[in-house]
Symmetry: D2
Subunit: 466 residues, 4 copies
């Protein structure tokens, strides 16, 4: 993947939020919603307020609480928000969303979660037509499609644009009087609709609905578009090249990415993780004195393992919550201590104990090894490591950061080699079947496991195929 890839397929993890509600404080609601979605992207945050004479946007690099030390104000009742983490290496301020443009049908603001696979050709085509690009974002390509459309209404233009793009996308779009939500035909990333007493909310996860006191109404279906205005939501379907492909709801949202208090496509993330733990016990039958997790991502699966096995659950590693963002980088020789800064064993839970340790995944294996060393130094007698997903062996092109997984240990090492590398006494990865059983609320044929099994449910980005 050369330098050009920057323009072709930057992969982004994002969270999107939209609200159309005359009865609440819009900027504060968007703030709450973004704050609840912060785990989906900590690099930048942005908010656009529509409904006034001109849209107002406030955005910047940093956490939601940093970007919005004060809130923008505008008279309207429509708001859009976005949090973002980019895997493209150089974090570019210009890539912050939402992006807003004046079009022949008025101002349009757009927030996007996902990654398109036909950006390169669309971009090339648009450049040939004289469109200019200020960012490296897929989102700009979509906005151009909407702007260039000959259709006479924003709604038709958005539908047209949605028909031309391919890949993973959840879009929340605002005009001065309407809020739109779209989910790609394969349903890679989640998008849900909620209702307050006086209005409507769109969000990547249900935890953001909760944060503004909205009740969950329904998930936006793959290939579905919702248009919300003063009369409430209207649903429709748009057809695009991906329509006939298999659904591809992301399994990794359940394993790691989503917040445990969210529910997607009818399946509770918490329950799915609890079952991952139970499946891990069923498959591994690893015995021990205590079950503990690598906090926080392994917590729920560890509780599930403990319940299923009857082995007591304990907090064996205490996580320091004060990391902040500016951390003095330890020298290589002190890398072990760096992990120790974040995680410290509770000696009495570890010394002389046989531990079952639960984590959600193994990336390079380095950190896992250091954690296991820490536990050994604290006196652990035996460490059985259980991973609540299969080995990650393939990059995700659809919205999950696998860039740090470039040197994925599972690509080049057998499970036994990994076990030795991380110094565990035993190691078990949840099987794909186990994971499927855990996410039982979703029809199995609709789940994407590509990062585990390489079975991409549609084309991958153009430049990546070469």
């Amino acid at each position: 993947m050369g330098y050009d890839a920057v323009w072709d397929s930057p992969r982004e993890e994002c969270g999107v939020f939209g609200i159309c509600d005359p009865g609440v404080d819009i900027p504060l609601s968007v703030y709450y919603g973004l704050f609840a979605l912060q785990h989906r992207g900590q690099e930048s945050a942005g908010m656009t307020l529509a409904g006034g004479v001109r849209m107002v946007t406030q955005a910047g690099m940093g956490l939601v609480t940093e970007v919005f030390r004060t809130l923008p104000q505008a008279p309207g009742h429509i708001g859009l928000g976005h949090v973002r983490y980019s895997t493209t290496g150089a974090s570019m301020a210009c890539n912050i969303q939402p992006i807003v443009a004046e079009t022949a049908v008025g101002e349009i603001a757009l927030a996007h979660n996902g990654n398109l696979i036909n950006t390169a050709s669309l971009r090339e085509e648009q450049i040939a037509q004289g469109m200019t690009f200020r960012t490296t974002m897929d989102t700009e390509v979509i906005l151009n499609l909407i702007a260039r459309s000959a259709a006479s209404t924003a709604e038709e233009r958005i539908r047209e644009a949605a028909q031309q793009i391919d890949g993973a996308f959840c879009l929340v779009i605002a005009t001065q009087d309407k809020l739109f939500g779209l989910r790609d035909p394969q349903g890679y990333r989640p998008l849900c609709l909620g209702a307050t007493e006086t209005g409507w909310v769109l969000a990547s996860e249900t935890c953001a609905l909760d944060s503004v006191g909205a009740k969950f109404v329904r998930d936006i279906e793959p290939g579905q578009m919702v248009c919300i205005d003063a009369n409430g939501p209207t649903f429709s379907r748009f057809a695009n090249p991906a329509t006939s492909r298999r659904k591809a709801r992301c399994s990794f949202e359940y394993v790691y990415f989503a917040r445990p208090d969210s529910v997607f496509d009818g399946e509770s993330v918490y329950d799915a993780r609890l079952r991952m733990g139970a499946e891990l016990w069923r498959e591994s039958q690893f015995d021990g004195d205590l079950v503990m997790s690598v906090p926080d991502s392994g917590n729920v699966a560890a509780i599930g393992y403990a319940r299923a096995s009857g082995i007591p659950y304990a907090e064996g590693l205490i996580k320091n919550r004060y990391m902040g963002r500016t951390f003095i980088q330890p020298t290589q020789a002190m890398r072990e201590r760096s992990v120790r800064m974040k995680l410290n064993p509770v000696v009495n839970n570890v010394a002389g104990k046989r531990l079952v340790l639960i984590d959600d995944s193994i990336v390079r294996g380095t950190t896992s090894g250091i954690i296991i060393d820490l536990l050994r130094q604290a006196g652990a007698k035996e460490i059985s490591l259980c991973i609540s997903s299969p080995p990650v062996m393939h990059p995700c092109y659809f919205g999950i950061d696998t860039s740090e997984r470039n040197e994925l240990i599972a690509v080049t090492h057998s499970v036994e080699e990994i076990r030795r590398f991380v110094r565990a006494d035993r190691l078990h990865y949840l099987s794909q079947e186990g994971l499927q059983r855990a996410i039982r609320g979703i029809p199995q044929e609709e789940i994407c496991f590509a990062c585990f099994d390489g079975d991409y449910r549609g084309p991958i980005p153009e430049k990546e195929e070469a």
Copy 2:
């Protein structure tokens, strides 16, 4: 308590750290140590490096990671660190520690955790003698005692000073070639000694020893002073007015303040909290479908309750980890949503369930009420609230912040009234006997429960008696 109280008895929560070690990177070690103690004070942080021609101090308002974006450098092998939270309302930058002064026996740096009860008279006496005060800190009074002493060595001067002060104090003091640690004769606050391969470490909690790879050696005993130099530690005892009083090891460190991975005076905080949970079950016998905690302070006791009762443990409230320090204050009308920003129920763990909810204490009761409302809105069928300590009814003058407890609900309300105020179905506070059983590693006559039972084990600050 009028304005003058600022000078008389500001109460501070603090963490102290000291190291004397020619074999490690001193600034980095102090940084690690302070980072591990960050929970003991988030308002300011400071570090003094001794052992060079001049001591070097870097300090500031903010978190450890903020104050030390770069580390100070100095040639010596002795370092001192301090984190602090002051209850005096106005956070004063000048009150940051360590404080350093040139004396007739060379430069002396001092870091202090605790609160003296005879500051006012010592201060008055010193002012009459022409000493000047730049801060409102007890620490300055102690430094003046050391500076004013007629003794010829720093060690004797420190001992003399320690004999004149009364109240709660753990002191870590550095000269250019020695590191001292002292703990008041009643032992209010903890202080422990650890060893690296090449040197020695003093810290408020063992988690800070772990953070620099030091092994726990022993706790500094009440009334004990340790002097560390190139020849290692030498222990001695100092006598002061408090010597004959009852020991007063703080029970609230176990309930709430300390990190669960620390061990004080031979008792593991984690184990003590686990037993608090078990005792809660033994006393309350509250049944339910799930046990959950108000994260993070109630986690361990909840696990203990679950184990003892056999009721499954679950994470029923997900805590948002991205609060940061600059948070837009919600309007009064949105206070409920403010709690909801921090805590969100996992609906499937709550809806239709009978919950046993564990928290460490109740202050005003407002937040507890909102949390219980949140759980009800998420469908909880029954909520039994268990508090892992007795009602807090008396202020602490010895290093725990009870300033937010000014309007302590337990002072003016019965348990039944509190239950109604927080809208719980049932409410049980751990009895003092139960708490004593939970902290069983400490002889009961040596534990201070004054905040619960008002039995202060010595005089309280001079101005407070009036």
Copy 3:
């Protein structure tokens, strides 16, 4: 002028800089150049480095020294810079230049000084064609013209674009291997070419050539375009709607805006101002004991007045140089003291003296009045105020900020009324003939005096005509 005007004709004061030089440190040179042009815009600054695989841009709100605390790095030998002050009220971060876009002929970066008059129709047309706008800048319209062009080279596309735009513009444009400079056919704003030993420099003023050690080569002529590459500069002419109109070199650059060490179109700004002072004496024959200026803008004309009249020149008002950007706003009642913070009389030069005070222009008259009061309080016996330009009575649509001149006192008051308003004993404005004589290096028919006489030498912005 309503809200819509924001999109139609924001007026901007700017400075532009470009360099193509394989023999120097490009980022440092652009930094030096922008620093020299800082007086042309203090709101934002930006730099684009071309010649590498991808262009690199660093830009932000603030002074050059603030935006470039560190310099960007890139391998190429072409750089572009821009400083900007916008009169549109709300300072918009997104409007920072240079702007960069990928086009069918590669990346193009553009920096612009001036204001177009046909932006509104071009913009409307482009929106109808589906182009999207992220900013309110004329510059984006130009960039779109270049991007949309069917021509096969950047050079032809730039020429085509230049032929479609109308108004005041100096453009410095970079591709990955070429640097372009263009000046509008009427020559409103200045642009000059300089040479280092190894390369070429374009800048708004010659002081920026000096700052990088470049020798002045020639001014870019109205309607001229220069293309610089490895073979050096090539000059050509482009025709556009304005070609047949009268030249309109800005007289106000000489009066106030340009730095006195710059030379435009063959006329030294310093010399022109010196002559303005002499002309003022010739016209007014105001006698006095001392000539002094309102620093710094009146300094040179005051020296000229002193020389011509034989009256001694003195620094009668000392200017405080430490204003910085964050200034506590005084209450209305203390407005006089606010001016006094900036300017303080040298009492011995004022007390009992008859003063001739020179300033470049009067806007609202409020500040002039306060200054004259200050001098009276310091004991001035007589104050004769001389203004080195005619009364400003018409807005400039071509790159000089007259937005603060909305309530231009000269529009509604006679000279005698203004004299009374500012409490001067005598008041003389330089006549337009006098100003013409002062700028004698430029053919009089080529100078624009529209802000004084309303004789616009071409159409004004579309929306302004209504």
Copy 4:
């Protein structure tokens, strides 16, 4: 001068300000006063407000406009301010003034300009008595003397302290109800008293009186103390070791340090500089086409030279006013260009001209050489350099920074050698007699010229004598 010198004789340039006025906004007045004194110290600024229950201090590193983005508030009518530049190399935040301490006679705040010569012994003595030092400032020693005094009133204690200190000092001191001003018996540094309609002001320079609309009343006399309270000022004299020594009013304040709009001890700085220029002409008789200065410090002397000689005055070098504080350091090879960033010749004033260039002093000679090169490159035919003071050959221990003068060129080079080093055609330094004539308002026997002639009018700091 070794490392220990940091504690013994740090030399500081400072400005002090005090106000006692029930009729004005005290914080705003102190702000204005400090802003007017900013040229006396740009490193740190501080303000203390007295008169409330507790004194309130706000201080920090940086310019006045940076430290006081918001102003402190307090109910009283007494304020103290300080700006400071330290020559001790490491800028120490703890050294910021005013310093405040609680004493047996209440809180006392102190701001100090000058340098003591007996700090080391006083400090040693105080340390032996058990006083502690937090800073390296003389000021702390003075505060300790006041605090330690047995006298019963603040006034007596201050007088006693003033009798024990030796060297250069202007002190402005506040208690909760009084404001004091003291000037050392030799009168090294200036201090003046002004009156508003409702109160009284003390300041280092009259320009600060002007800034708050106060009228000059009188200079504080050497050895004089003024005590201001509700009844107005009371003057008295204090005797101390220096009383019988020669007066030592600083000549360098007139040459360079003070603002030209200030008047000290009856002599206008502006007028003195004008006469320095005239004396320079009288002595050198250097002819030329134009007189110009190195701005801004040489401006007034250049005007004086022009008037006396009849040679026209011109602004030949334009100074860039936007340097700010964060400036990218040029590489050594670009040092010339660094000076060029700050100063650019007005070519028409230089090319082919014989120039008389006026500067206030020569330090190392490097910058002078670069400026002369710049003028030559701009075509100067002849450059005659005139310096408005004699060669600086001795360090000042009394409040003027000569630390950059460590390698003073005049110490090791003859005037002819310096002329060659700076590449001037001719070079003349004003004679000491000429300087004396210029400062004619002061009895010559009362002026200190020690930096020129080494005739220190009293002992120098203790450690420096060794």
